[in-house]
Symmetry: C2
Subunit: 409 residues, 2 copies
């Protein structure tokens, strides 16, 4: 067997993620490694913590990376906060709410859900009522659920949780960096993300932040490994995972520098560069960029005579649901886009499979040329699929929104 070195084709990834990483992030990953306790590495870890505080808009000391994809961070937060038998309330409005129920259940929680039809969001009142009815230890919910493109308003949720003594956890995997997220102002206790969406990096590293109360809960369950024990007495119910034990991960990232895993050096370089670029741009400016290009894409989709999916008042800036026109084979169009133009758009899960496409406008690909190229190519493939489509309708509508915003600016 001889295998060639990888040589991936050039793709324009306009699905719900992963999207194409910023070339500067890819270059950062090619930098040589340093040792895990090298002062240079320790400094990069400190810088990374500081950068992600900016991205999460928080002063939380406990802000760090979990070495895995975004769901590793979800599980790290839940397994570290939740003791077996604790009640976790999960508002479910799409697949990723279901994922939270799945993970919470596996870590031993008693899971209670409330549900909204896919394509809608919850009101604060609904969530408060459910808290009063179930008295959960933790409320776990998704900010931007890419399965439905909905963005759950959060500003009132943290304060409701604080009033009722509930810890709040937000899965901001797909939303962070492209939609407003204010960890401290919204009084969120824990949040996590992934690099491969609005942060413009590859999947494989997952930023996490914990409020002081959440970090205290985690630290109250500190059990140091036998091989490196320092004589400290273990406390609290032992966390059911070693790899995803945030108490140990905090010790590794903190002044104690207790060995846990070996930090994934190249992914840390990537995470550092993702956040550095975002902070240099300005977080609010990056959110505004996602809004502007997402809006242009949505207008372009309408301009092609297609309908948007879900409550547009609550759409994530960075993912657009497109109703597949009657008589058109959605997978055939997707294959045409990939084969003819190297453009990927997303399929869907569960009840939306075959019903909508999901188009991402995020991270490095939240750019006008990416939006316009996608619309131009989609027009061609829709026409080939026999759909009635106005020539230039998509690109013209998108250009019109850009012109409109320039005039307004």
């Amino acid at each position: 067997m001889t295998t060639d070195t990888i040589n991936p084709p050039t793709r324009l990834l306009m699905g719900p993620g992963p999207i194409g990483a910023d070339p500067r992030v890819l270059r950062a990953m090619a930098a040589p490694l340093v040792g895990q306790f090298d002062p240079v590495m320790t400094d990069y870890m400190h810088q990374t913590m500081a950068l992600y505080r900016r991205v999460f808009d928080t002063a939380n000391e406990a802000t760090l990376l979990v070495d895995g994809t975004s769901r590793a961070a979800i599980e790290a937060v839940l397994v570290s906060l939740v003791e077996p038998g604790d009640t976790v309330l999960v508002p479910v409005m799409g697949r990723f709410g279901l994922l939270l129920t799945e993970i919470a259940g596996r870590v031993g929680a008693k899971v209670v859900t409330i549900e909204r039809p896919w394509g809608e969001v919850f009101t604060s009142e609904e969530i408060e009522q459910a808290i009063l009815a179930h008295h959960p230890r933790v409320l776990a919910l998704v900010q931007g659920d890419t399965s439905t493109t909905m963005n759950q308003p959060l500003a009132e949720i943290g304060p409701i949780c604080r009033r009722h003594g509930v810890l709040s956890y937000v899965d901001a995997t797909a939303s962070l960096g492209g939609n407003t997220f204010r960890c401290d102002e919204w009084q969120i206790d824990a949040a996590s993300a992934g690099l491969q969406k609005c942060l413009g990096g590859p999947p494989g590293s997952a930023p996490v932040t914990l409020s002081t109360p959440a970090a205290e809960v985690v630290r109250s369950r500190r059990h140091i490994e036998a091989g490196i024990a320092d004589g400290t007495e273990p406390t609290g119910v032992r966390i059911r995972s070693n790899y995803l034990d945030l108490a140990m991960i905090l010790d590794y990232w903190g002044p104690a520098r207790l060995n846990h895993h070996t930090e994934a050096t190249s992914m840390l370089y990537a995470a550092h560069e993702c956040a550095r670029l975002l902070v240099a741009e300005g977080i609010d400016e990056a959110v505004e960029r996602h809004r502007r290009h997402g809006r242009a894409m949505a207008a372009g989709i309408n301009g092609l005579g297609l309908s948007l999916y879900g409550d547009q008042e609550h759409r994530m800036n960075n993912v657009i649901g497109v109703v597949i026109p009657t008589g058109v084979d959605g997978e055939h169009v997707r294959a045409g886009l990939l084969d003819h133009y190297g453009i990927e758009i997303g399929t869907s899960f569960g009840p939306l499979r075959g019903v909508i496409w999901r188009i991402g406008v995020m991270g490095y690909n939240a750019r006008a040329d990416a939006v316009l190229t996608t619309l131009a190519a989609l027009e061609q493939e829709l026409r080939r699929a026999g759909a009635p489509v106005p020539a230039g309708g998509g690109v013209d509508a998108a250009l019109a929104t850009y012109a409109e915003e320039e005039v307004a600016a």
Copy 2:
């Protein structure tokens, strides 16, 4: 706050890992991303499975990557194989045996250990006696425990386990690629590794292989996520982790391509390149390279008047324990090597802290120039620390072993 892009200094990493990655692996990581279900990605995943079958020397279909550092793979194997209450037998001969007890305990196993003093290995008889005494479901042991530099002989362990109906799991994190490992011939049921040791990559991706019986155990606990359920009835005791559930990870890597995590694309590129380079060199040839350069380093250490730590008959090819001479401050010498030469050697854990240094000769750094440079610099720092040291003694002894092997070849 303004933060510069990372710009790590050039280091020669001669510790127990991570070591400097092969530049070709770093370059592979800088390649652009493709979508997770892109046919190109699927092909890379297939190639990666085939390449790691070669590395593990197995025909196991279930050979894939876990997206995390090496301990993520250890936990994935144990949480997926072991049901709460099952007995797991762990022979402990160093810190990483203790880590196995730690992880097995957290996933709910009843953990039984046998112990050897640090610096020694077990006989097959000792392990068989313990199996007869405790009737474990799983035997979990480390091949190369970097904390002591010992390499546990395994050829007879798998057959013993098969005879007694025990599943065998080997943590080959630090040994694979630099020491002989024959998964099928030795009848090992599960093994895992990491990229950052003899495979010459960065930490953050962890190859795993499961024998047919082990994969059957894992698949007997298949519970598909609510959001993507296909109507299949779940079976067996649900695995306590979602992220590290090998039944789901097998579905993601297998023909079903059921979405689980989003494969860490850049780390997969790295893992692919690590294995590709190793297979191109020849696995046995790579092991021989580690033996040759490890032997030269050990001879050089003796040539500097220092003693080697542990049973040299059972030393890993790729890590050398060096007794810190009396009166020398080990950390001061390490700091001198880093500050003056950019060379990192390793400190130690637990009972060996301050007693030995650990020098790695592995992966991309299993090269004569890396060995000789390290010996030349160590000589200088030992002299500065006041140790009696023969001028040129380390380099000359290492060169003599290279010359000897060339004559013999």
